[in-house]
């Protein structure tokens, strides 16, 4: 991944580089759900809520301060804190999986409707007008910390996003190999047994959910920075279902899976979008159904099963 990151700007034109930058940002988003759902066993239908919160937190703060460093930090903190609050009610309230799905999805759609109805001068945070469904255009993009005049150019942004992707990927691997991570996987396998061994299941799930929220927020920040634009569509049903499709296609219970699923589906979306051959959502729906029915474990776990006993770093954690 590091080699690709360093080599790509040498061989790809500006447009391709921008494409890859957004792909990488979305891969971070895919990783967040891959972690929360694939390892934590928490089916979150509302991962885009944290993504959108991150994007808006960045947008509002960057406009108000005219400097992006604090904005980027808040873009991670705000969704993480929100995830912690939401998670507290869900996990400490002992809600079952189905309700978890319903609540996270509802929260996302509430944000979607809320942000859509913030058109007009009255809805502003400091200098930042929220602009309802029109979204917030011409956002300040990321600058070198402490120097608002020194903005990152597309190549630097690409390096930065790739660096974050690598950090998140490696960081999650390290986390999963730790005591905490192994308990998280054990909870996915059998909650009751974990409690009988003395592990506080609620606390572990809450932490997983919070970390996932923060990572999704980081992706939201990079997304808003990429287009210098954010609109309520970050909270839309399309957005939130896309993330689930990435993870399903790539494979639950792996970290590479969501990245691969995300890349394939994003590439498809871009290609279909430019050629206007068929409705993208229709194709996505068909692919989703095909995977659920035919390759329910997703690409990566299925390939691993085919490759029989191919040793992988996360072998012990994978459901066999």
């Amino acid at each position: 991944m590091v080699v690709i990151a360093l080599g790509v700007p040498q061989v790809v034109d500006q447009f391709g580089l921008l494409q890859l930058t957004i792909f990488a940002a979305m891969c971070i988003l895919a990783l967040s759900l891959g972690f929360v759902w694939g390892y934590g066993g928490i089916l979150c239908f509302g991962q885009s809520a944290f993504f959108g919160l991150g994007a808006y937190a960045y947008a509002v703060t960057a406009v108000d301060l005219g400097e992006s460093t604090a904005a980027a930090i808040l873009a991670v903190l705000v969704p993480a804190v929100f995830a912690a609050l939401l998670g507290y009610f869900m996990f400490y309230g002992r809600l079952s999986d189905v309700y978890l799905g319903v609540i996270t999805l509802s929260v996302t759609l509430i944000f979607f409707n809320l942000m859509n109805s913030t058109a007009g001068d009255a809805y502003r945070v400091g200098k930042a007008r929220l602009n309802g469904f029109n979204g917030m255009p011409s956002l300040p993009t990321l600058n070198v910390p402490g120097d608002p005049a020194r903005l990152l150019d597309p190549t630097e942004t690409f390096y930065l996003v790739m660096a974050f992707l690598v950090i998140v990927y490696v960081g999650l691997h390290v986390l999963l190999a730790s005591h905490f991570g192994r308990v998280v996987v054990a909870i996915r396998e059998n909650e009751a047994r974990c409690e009988l061994l003395g592990y506080d299941v609620r606390l572990h799930k809450l932490l997983v959910f919070t970390i996932g929220g923060g990572i999704a927020g980081l992706a939201g920040c990079l997304f808003a920075n990429w287009g210098a634009f954010v609109s309520p569509n970050v909270f839309s049903l399309t957005m939130t279902s896309q993330i689930i499709i990435w993870v399903i296609v790539g494979g639950l219970g792996t970290l590479v899976g969501p990245i691969i699923g995300c890349l394939i589906m994003q590439y498809l979306a871009t290609t279909l979008g430019t050629q206007q051959l068929a409705n993208t959502n229709l194709i996505f729906g068909i692919i989703f159904l095909a995977f659920v029915l035919l390759v329910p474990r997703g690409i990566v776990p299925s390939l691993r099963a085919l490759g029989a006993r191919a040793p992988g770093p996360s072998r012990v954690h994978d459901p066999a």
């Binding site: 192994r182 996987v185 054990a186 396998e189 059998n190 047994r193 974990c194 061994l197 003395g198």
Partner: protein, 240 residues
């Protein structure tokens, strides 16, 4: 009360109209090995669920080493030092045998020590050769052993075993009995079991439960002679 490991006072739980456990007063002494027997539906497993916090009693108290743990969370009770092997082995099917023991050992021990305990228990339960295999593929008898090992790795002060010999061959039952006696040298145990041969191998004091209440508490020999116990087991007037 202070030299009792565990004490229940009038412990009861009611599911709708059924009182599954009725006013159970039960005392377990330091390093005691108690067998709990009784026909199906007598409330033995329900009592275990109450003791481990998986169910909350509707009345009564549970005192563990002088601390009232009534209504505490399952994980908090486990942290106090009560470990349980459940009736149907409760395991992490996707994880290996080694991972099970490690998870139990690591909660209370630093990494290095947890690894040592894991290897030690693997030897003790004779599953070293299967250590890296996923538990989901093991037979019921072996799963029993994995769960027993997992409980041991956590080194709880009080160990509850719900039908530890179920699904085992004759030799395995004998080995389990031996292991239980060995554990009892350092730990207090309560064992629920239907297999009378197994009970005879390990038991000193036996508590008989019937329809949610304690029927009688005595030595194994006395219990076997007890006419009422025989009646409820043979169903003379216990089937009602």
């Amino acid at each position: 009360m202070s030299d009792a490991v565990l004490q229940t006072l009038g412990l009861s739980i009611r599911f709708g109209g059924v009182e599954a456990v009725r006013g159970v007063d039960f005392t377990l002494a330091e390093r005691e090995l108690r067998c709990l027997i009784g026909p199906n539906g007598a409330g033995k497993s329900t009592l275990f669920k109450l003791l481990t916090g998986q169910l909350k009693p509707t009345a009564g108290r549970i005192v563990f080493r002088g601390h009232d743990i009534t209504g505490h969370h399952t994980h908090a009770i486990a942290r106090r030092g009560i470990g349980i092997k459940t009736q149907v082995p409760s395991l992490f099917d996707g994880l290996t045998v080694r991972e099970h023991l490690w998870l139990a050992a690591r909660r209370t021990n630093p990494a290095e020590r947890a690894r040592a305990i894991t290897e030690e228990i693997l030897e003790r339960i004779g599953l070293a050769s299967l250590a890296n295999g996923a538990v989901g593929r093991l037979s019921h008898g072996l799963r029993q052993w994995v769960e027993l090992g997992t409980v041991l790795a956590g080194n709880p002060e009080l160990i509850l075993l719900d039908e530890p010999a179920a699904g085992m061959t004759h030799d395995e039952v004998a080995r389990t009995a031996e292991l239980v006696r060995e554990i009892n040298r350092t730990h207090a145990l309560i064992v629920v079991e239907h297999d009378m041969q197994f009970v005879r191998m390990i038991a000193r004091t036996v508590t008989v439960m019937h329809q949610g209440a304690v029927l009688v508490e005595d030595t194994m020999d006395q219990i076997m002679k007890n006419a009422t116990v025989r009646d409820i087991y043979l169903g003379k007037h216990g089937g009602s």
